[in-house]
């Protein structure tokens, strides 16, 4: 494999790694507030000081609220705060396990570095976006695993055994396919109290997404199994006394790998988006825990949209994630089926 062919996988893996290291990569904790810096614009990195000298190490100036009514900030050039690496700051747990205090970059207090500005409580949008990626990425992976974990066996069994089993399973699949997913999730989530803790709510969300997502998988797997079971190698293994289960697992399932991996990568973004939409509506991850969805809710306000454009930056993280998954999906399809049309 050339580097170019590997690129999509590297990008996706990097994305997951970065989200795991969110605590280290972000200068602040997601819940850290600074009421003196609400809606502060992205901090400018300077290389040239007021005397006109150039510095190799970038530095920032402290932002001072010059107009509290209009929310305008001015830089105070009297003190420069150089950007430092591996600075000690608030403590967190790396990968949720190892207690640590050092962050990849930061500036000494009272200086502040907001790469993507701050929100109405003075929380760093960059840090919050980084933490938010953990929820979205983990959830997508779990929902994909669940839906394929159900869809693959169901499709195999329906296609291989046929008859009444097939009819029943495919009727179930049709039923699930007829459910407008987002509406259904809304209704079920609505039955839970609105102040349900985030973790059980997320677990339920994964469960529903998985239970809705298996149907399209099962349909395609069934169709492939139907044609695969007529092939000579299946006949041969049956003639040599192979059991049905053995044939399914050893001989038929491997042929479904290409579809499985490609489709898994291409459906993952839908699960990310479902979480974002629900959190946007206030039914997924709830404050103070950050999610790209609930961060975008705060941007939904004409004044914010007009003046504080950086509040939309979680959307860029979201976009990057979806691009990475789609890219991997396309790469997998080309890998398994080189004759497919590149698109």
């Amino acid at each position: 494999m050339t580097i170019r062919a590997r690129a999509p996988y590297i990008v996706l893996a990097a994305l997951y790694l970065l989200s795991g290291l969110a605590g280290f990569l972000s200068p602040y904790r997601y819940q850290e507030q600074d009421r003196n810096h609400f809606y502060a614009p992205p901090t400018k990195l300077h290389f040239q000081d007021t005397a006109g000298r150039w510095h190799l190490r970038p530095f920032v100036y402290r932002m001072v609220l010059s107009d509290p009514l209009e929310v305008r900030y001015q830089e105070d050039p009297s003190v420069a705060y150089p950007v430092k690496f591996f600075v000690a700051g608030s403590s967190y747990r790396l990968l949720g396990l190892f207690p640590m205090r050092h962050h990849l970059f930061g500036v000494d207090a009272p200086g502040r570095i907001f790469l993507l500005g701050s929100d109405q409580l003075g929380r760093d949008v960059f840090s919050r976006s980084a933490y938010a990626s953990q929820v979205s990425l983990a959830l997508a992976l779990a929902a994909v695993l669940l839906s394929f974990g159900i869809g693959l066996p169901v499709g195999c069994v329906a296609g291989y055994y046929g008859g009444k089993t097939d009819t029943l399973l495919m009727w179930l699949a049709d039923l699930v396919l007829a459910i407008p997913g987002l509406y259904f999730i809304l209704a079920v989530r609505g039955a839970l109290p609105l102040d349900t803790p985030t973790l059980p709510a997320l677990a339920l969300l994964i469960l529903i997404l998985g239970l809705l997502g298996w149907a399209p998988v099962a349909r395609v797997v069934r169709a492939s199994t139907l044609s695969l079971k007529e092939r000579e190698f299946v006949l041969a293994s049956r003639a040599s006394g192979g059991s049905s289960a053995g044939i399914l697992i050893r001989h038929i399932a491997p042929h479904l790998a290409s579809f499985t991996f490609t489709q898994a990568a291409l459906t993952a973004p839908f699960y990310v988006l479902a979480e974002v939409t629900l959190s946007y509506l206030g039914l997924g991850v709830s404050e103070p825990l950050p999610s790209w969805g609930n961060m975008l809710t705060e941007a939904h306000n004409p004044v914010v949209l007009q003046r504080f454009w950086w509040m939309l930056s979680p959307g860029l993280f979201l976009f990057l994630t979806v691009v990475a998954w789609n890219w991997v999906g396309n790469a997998l399809r080309d890998f398994f089926d080189p004759h497919s049309e590149p698109l």
Binding site: A187, T277, V323
Partner: protein, 318 residues
């Protein structure tokens, strides 16, 4: 008689199975609610509210609740909304036309864009315009509708060219022009996504058709190119597109949910989302069922249309 055999019987079968599916979904809704730990009756408990007479507040198990719901729904009674204190059917009837207008406008817009662009892309395969369109499709499919809606709203807020959501200004203009002005931005956001989905399909189907011998004949005969592509090739490439349009009702409905909420478009998605947020379960269940019906209707319409367009398709009876 021939028409009846080809069109009516499959339609009736489909109707029967659709009804079964809707009933099953009602049971599923109630079942999931009780599984999730909430009792369906709980949300009825509201101080000072004595309505909801149609749906009992008594503690029925979920399957009995669902059976009751289905029985009442069969008589056209979906209960009363808790927040609006009006029949759910009335609220749905007010919201659905808005959703339908949005969906139709978006689908028509997407078809108008994707068919010529898709044909161009297939005919000039490998050219710069083809590659540019492919890249645009890839990027567009990766932009979440929710985010695009917010960006569109930002543009509207900054430029003032478009109204900031809603379906009517109330004060100034009213009537069709004003409605269309409000419809424009949500439609644009949905159209962008649908165009990408349709374009990919049109291109793929056209590439298949362009390999056929009869097109080489047409080319050899010296027919005008445009006539060949649009009149001879495209109709044969349109089957997958028709199915896709029918299926994209689902995409439109759930994509529209985000757009409707962001842009305050008074459609079905926004109504359902608000019902859930205000714990108005009768309205929420009504919204889910209405969305299900819309989805089934979309698929059925696409299939019926395909049967009319193409007599080769046999009535497949399952």
């Amino acid at each position: 008689m021939e028409v009846a055999r080809r069109l009516l019987r499959p339609a009736l079968l489909r109707l029967a199975s659709s009804l079964l599916i809707v009933v099953a979904i009602v049971f599923l809704c109630h079942g999931m609610v009780s599984l999730a730990g909430g009792r369906f009756g709980d949300t009825w408990e509201r101080p000072g509210w004595t309505g909801g007479a149609t749906l009992g507040r008594e503690e029925l198990p979920w399957y009995a609740q669902s059976a009751r719901w289905v029985g009442l729904a069969a008589r056209g009674d979906l209960g009363d909304s808790l927040t609006y204190r009006r029949p759910v059917t009335e609220l749905l009837a007010a919201a659905i036309p808005h959703s339908l207008a949005l969906a139709l406008a978006a689908i028509l817009g997407a078809l108008a864009l994707s068919i010529p662009l898709g044909i161009l892309s297939a005919v000039k395969r490998g050219s710069y315009s083809d590659r540019l369109l492919a890249a645009a499709v890839f990027v567009q499919l990766s932009v979440p509708t929710l985010f695009l809606a917010l960006v569109a709203l930002m543009v509207a807020a900054r430029t003032g060219w478009f109204p900031l959501g809603g379906a009517g200004s109330g004060a100034g203009g009213s009537g069709l022009g004003d409605y269309l002005r409000h419809l424009f931005l949500p439609t644009l956001v949905l159209t962008a996504r649908l165009t990408a989905i349709y374009l990919r399909q049109v291109r793929a189907s056209m590439l298949d058709v362009l390999r056929e011998d009869y097109l080489r004949t047409a080319l050899a005969k010296g027919l005008p190119r445009m006539r060949i592509y649009f009149r001879h090739a495209f109709p044969n490439a349109s089957h997958a597109l028709i199915t896709l349009v029918g299926m994209s009702f689902a995409t439109v409905m759930s994509g529209a949910l985000a757009v409707e909420v962001v842009m305050s478009w008074p459609g079905l998605g926004r109504l359902t989302a608000e019902a859930v947020l205000s714990r108005d379960m009768p309205l929420a269940v009504g919204g889910v069922v209405a969305a299900t019906l819309a989805l089934l209707a979309g698929n059925a319409l696409a299939e019926a249309f395909l049967r009319v367009v193409d007599p080769r398709i046999q009535a497949e009876v399952r």
